[in-house]
Symmetry: C2
Subunit: 316 residues, 2 copies
């Protein structure tokens, strides 16, 4: 099959072996896949991954021991715990030290004609969703992890820092809670799009100390964390949504003196993401920049890596 493989170099190959599903797995024909910042980071060495890239996808089950899944359109959770260790038995499967992660760690991913995933990782895609919408389920679930991690009340003033892909999704998800959300970014064109999606926006120079009860840091830069500390009120919360390229930010004594809560947040729950898409409560297709065929994957990655670009999709 065709697949976009990273083995230290990125290449699209035509003769990659079709993966063979384990007993608990389904074989899925990929319909559409999305490029994520993590894919770009892997090319720079993140996670030391070798294999087929890609973890955001929608596809159709073509083989499965449980025949009820046959022909079904699915999206899939990306973490696969070993199932036997302490963390797995405690229910922290996504934190299993031996876990495989689709397209990120020990498991070939979605930029290919086929992938395999355990059936328990799969979720049915509602019929009224297009593939272009469903492919956003995984990053949207990551946004839904924020209200899983912290309690957001309707009185809260929430800043989302970063007008990139994740920031746009996080701001829309948080606005659903009834709180006041401000998307803070640097790119006028992106902020304009955010406004068209119904979001309130601001640029950093407009903001003051104590202006936020909660700051969600989606910039992936140490400066973003410093900004979050500058704007959050005493006893406020900073949600750290991204691992940082290069140096991680330093804690400061302000964290203790101002009694700040810092929460790390990663993957999230698929069902609320699918519900929000099905009910049209979150708009994702305006974030699509371009769709490339799989043979043009290197160009698609180059496009996704440009400054200020939202979501680039790949169709096998």
């Amino acid at each position: 099959m065709q697949a976009a493989v990273f083995d230290g170099q990125l290449r699209v190959v035509r003769d990659y072996p079709v993966p063979v599903p384990q007993a608990d797995e389904a074989l899925i024909r990929v319909s559409l896949a999305g490029i994520c910042g993590t894919d770009l980071a892997i090319l720079r060495g993140y996670a030391d991954f070798r294999g087929v890239l890609g973890h955001e996808f929608v596809g159709v089950v073509e083989a499965c021991a449980d025949k009820r899944w046959m022909g079904k359109r699915v999206v899939g959770e990306i973490n696969i715990g070993c199932g036997n260790c302490h963390r797995c038995t405690m229910g922290w499967r996504e934190h299993c030290a031996q876990r495989k992660v689709l397209g990120i760690r020990g498991k070939d991913g979605a930029f290919a004609e086929y992938l395999t995933l355990p059936v328990k990782n799969l979720h049915l895609v509602p019929p009224n969703l297009s593939d272009e919408e469903a492919v956003f389920t995984e990053p949207l679930a990551a946004a839904f992890n924020i209200p899983e991690c912290i309690n957001i009340t309707p009185n809260d003033r929430v800043f989302v820092l970063g007008d990139g892909r994740l920031g746009m999704l996080a701001a829309q998800v948080l606005a659903l809670t009834g709180c006041t959300v401000t998307l803070v970014g640097r790119h006028p064109s992106k902020l304009e799009l955010a406004q068209r999606l119904g979001l309130v926006t601001a640029s950093a120079s407009d903001l003051k100390q104590d202006a936020a009860d909660i700051v969600v840091e989606c910039t992936g830069s140490a400066q973003g964390f410093a900004d979050a500390l500058a704007w959050v009120r005493p006893q406020g919360t900073i949600v750290v949504k991204s691992t940082y390229h290069g140096e991680m930010p330093q804690l400061t004594s302000q964290v203790v003196v101002d009694e700040i809560y810092i929460v790390g947040s990663r993957c999230g729950p698929f069902p609320p993401a699918l519900r929000a898409l099905r009910q049209g409560r979150v708009k994702v297709t305006p974030l699509i920049e371009a769709t490339y065929p799989l043979p043009d994957f290197p160009q698609a990655m180059e496009h996704a890596g440009r400054r200020g670009v939202f979501k680039v999709l790949v169709r096998p």
Copy 2:
């Protein structure tokens, strides 16, 4: 009056002016005061404070516009907000940017014959408490801030890192919630005392990954934070109780990947501290190492600064 003054150098003077209470303040004769790590840090330059040191005290009101306070034995909260700024009007008086802090910031402290404090900062000491117990109210309140910041359930496995003054108080307070508390320290003699206080102890070499749901970091060293990250489970909580001397610890990608909660915690509520002391639920007097008269304050500070020393008291 006699007072221990820091003006770049530490000296005990005999002719320091008795402070004059403001309209909303009481004049308090100090009965007993405690040396805290913060006092030692101030001598090394922390907070750039100049004046009378000391913020842990018990004393008797000798002058006050509100006559009901006259002759009453009191302890006092140490933060004095300006009362007018946004933070004060929002109820974050302890985080007022213009705040004064007894013996730490813009307000003469407790290592003197007299101090003044606003009446609203004062709490009556129950008659069955000795001065030696009551003087622990302020640091014990700081320990009671931990269950104010986070929800601790009876199933939680809690590590308190650091067998110093704060660690001993924090471990006792947390044990009251019914959770499993382990005090982790490096000093056999202190761990032995902790055991006599009814605490379970461990040394670092005994501990494993994921062994704690909650870690309370009371060591004040970057290594303590690294240890906390090593032992806390995924989605666990680290409470940072102390500002760090020198370099603050760095966030790591583990914070995001393991979805760790980090909470800064500082001063705490006096009423539960006084209740716990009154009901004998926390033992503090075994932590007293020595009591010095005020003229011997430099020797008292030298004693308090020695490795492995708990609480040194000063009697004006």
